[in-house]
């Protein structure tokens, strides 16, 4: 039968790779979120596995530390029955001096279907997508993008607020070094949210206003009437030089506390992409409090990544008759 009851206005992604939110149209974003709704149900079954990616090989190539994202991708791949293998930079030939391109070409020679890549250099995934036949999924490249994080954030917001358009979303923290910020700003503005960003002036990316967001160095102004408050980690490992006097001072000026949160809407949700620095960007009381959806974000990550893997892997033309 021809299936016409379509939720998203499109039913396919016309891409080999997911390199960033910047390549996606609003319709494609909604398709991924709708597909993730269906994928989440699989995680609630007694047998949490479907045969959709049977016989496909997915390589998880991680050049940077990760627990959440790598595990989440691996669980997603396994639930779709793909064969997965993990390569962490510390245990690979990278320590012997092999370049990223050589590593990728050698992997490519073994014909994987998809490669999930995390790398410290912005643009690493774009480069790999040009030399690899395998589909490339960006799991975070330097300070550039982290598209699946933004997608799972949007999924979590939509689940709580039933919409994204018109919501006031305050993103607070180390904006400069955050790929989560760059992906989230693109996604949320594409779907019509009112995005505010706040942090120390030294950590404000130049020209961020041009992305359609409002900037302020006052956390209180950003939080005022917000539907969603998203905290970003202070990424000390990426900081060369001093951007603020001390972590204690950072917390006292920009840290999210219960008092600061009173300015937000009553049904505000608190998000954090993890890993959290308790007592730096977020107070424990807030992180573990009733408004926190931080662990839901992690749970939703699996469903969203299943949707991305499934949609990118592609399928045959839909049979028109059952």
């Amino acid at each position: 039968m021809i299936t016409q009851q379509v939720v998203a206005p499109i039913s396919k992604l016309r891409h080999k790779d997911l390199l960033g939110i910047s390549d996606l149209t609003p319709e494609e974003i909604l398709l991924i979120l709708d597909t993730a709704e269906a994928m989440r149900e699989i995680g609630e079954r007694p047998i949490k596995k479907v045969p959709a990616l049977r016989g496909k090989t997915v390589v998880n190539l991680f050049f940077e530390a990760s627990t959440r994202t790598r595990t989440s991708f691996e669980i997603a791949e396994k639930r779709l029955s793909a064969d997965t293998l993990n390569i962490a930079a510390g245990t690979s030939s990278v320590v012997k001096g092999e370049t990223l391109v050589d590593t990728a070409m050698n992997l490519e020679a073994m014909a994987p279907d998809m490669i999930v890549v995390r790398h410290a250099y912005s643009g690493a995934c774009h480069m790999l997508s040009r030399i690899c036949k395998a589909g490339i999924i960006n799991a975070g490249d330097g300070m550039h993008e982290h598209p699946t994080q933004a997608l799972l954030d949007a999924f979590t917001i939509r689940e709580h607020k039933k919409r994204i358009k018109g919501l006031k979303v305050a993103i607070i923290g180390d904006l400069l070094h955050s790929r989560v910020l760059r992906s989230n700003v693109q996604l949320l503005t594409k779907l019509g949210a009112d995005v505010w960003v706040s942090g120390p002036p030294t950590l404000m990316p130049p020209g961020i206003e041009r992305q359609g967001v409002r900037t302020t160095t006052s956390v209180d102004e950003a939080v005022e009437g917000a539907d969603v408050v998203m905290l970003l980690r202070v990424q000390l490992e990426r900081m060369q030089g001093s951007f603020f006097p001390s972590l204690r001072e950072y917390f006292s000026v920009f840290g999210m506390t219960r008092e600061r949160l009173r300015r937000a809407k009553e049904d505000v949700i608190i998000m954090h992409p993890g890993p959290m620095n308790r007592g730096v960007e977020i107070d424990s009381e807030v992180a573990d409090g009733p408004y926190s959806v931080i662990l839901e974000q992690v749970a939703n990550g699996v469903a969203v990544r299943m949707a991305v893997l499934y949609l990118l892997a592609g399928g045959a033309e839909h049979e028109t008759a059952a």
């Binding site: 039968m1 021809i2 299936t3 016409q4 009851q5 379509v6 939720v7 998203a8 039913s11 396919k12 016309r14 891409h15 080999k16 398709l31 709708d34 597909t35 709704e37 269906a38 994928m39 149900e41 699989i42 079954r45 007694p46 047998i47 596995k49 479907v50 045969p51 959709a52 990616l53 016989g55 496909k56 779709l80 279907d113 036949k133 589909g135 949707a307 499934y310 949609l311 892997a313 592609g314 399928g315 045959a316 033309e317 839909h318 049979e319 028109t320 008759a321 059952a322």
Partner: protein, 179 residues
């Protein structure tokens, strides 16, 4: 576009199938309906109503999306695939009789996928198959237990089932490919 079943006839057909189900199963004890999305689940709800009218006992229904179990997925690197919808089976199927419901039985591949999907939810006592239209041309050894109407077709033809819940009208028609 010849219409082979109109709304009246569809209503009578479903009522007749409901009676056959009750007769064969001696009631509706431990009987659950699972419809294959998107039109099978609409038919499942209608059949449940028809069964309840006969026996005055409630009958549980669920909806099954078989997209992730299809055997024609992933044949190309990049390409369109059907939208994945939620599977909703809000009850345990262990030791239950499951009536699997679809609108059109054709190659049998959808039913093969549905059987695989169902088995992932547990171990039903028995699975029976209900289809509104059997158009022939099986590619797998699958046979329906209850058939609304047998319609001999050629491979060039396509069978369209429209239901008022999803398409605004109750009707089954046969069209040839290039009409």
């Amino acid at each position: 576009m010849p219409v082979i079943m109109d709304a009246n006839r569809m209503g009578r057909t479903l009522a007749r199938i409901a009676h056959e189900i009750v007769e064969r199963n001696r009631g509706t004890d431990r009987l659950n309906l699972v419809g294959i999305r998107t039109r099978g689940d609409v038919l499942a709800k209608r059949l449940a109503k028809a069964l309840e009218q006969i026996t005055n006992e409630p009958v549980r229904t669920g909806a099954l999306d078989i997209t992730l179990y299809r055997d024609d997925l992933m044949r190309h690197v990049v390409g369109p695939q059907p939208l994945v919808r939620r599977t909703e089976i809000p009850f345990s199927i262990d030791d239950q009789k499951i009536l699997l419901i679809d609108d059109v039985l054709y190659t049998g591949r959808t039913i093969r996928a549905a059987l695989d999907a169902l088995i992932d939810f547990g171990r039903p006592k028995e699975i029976q198959l209900v289809v509104l239209v059997d158009r022939g041309h099986r590619e797998l050894p699958i046979k329906a237990d209850y058939v609304g109407k047998n319609v001999p077709t050629s491979l060039k033809e396509s069978v369209q089932v429209r239901l008022s819940e999803t398409d605004g009208t109750d009707e089954v028609s046969v069209t040839s490919e290039h009409e």
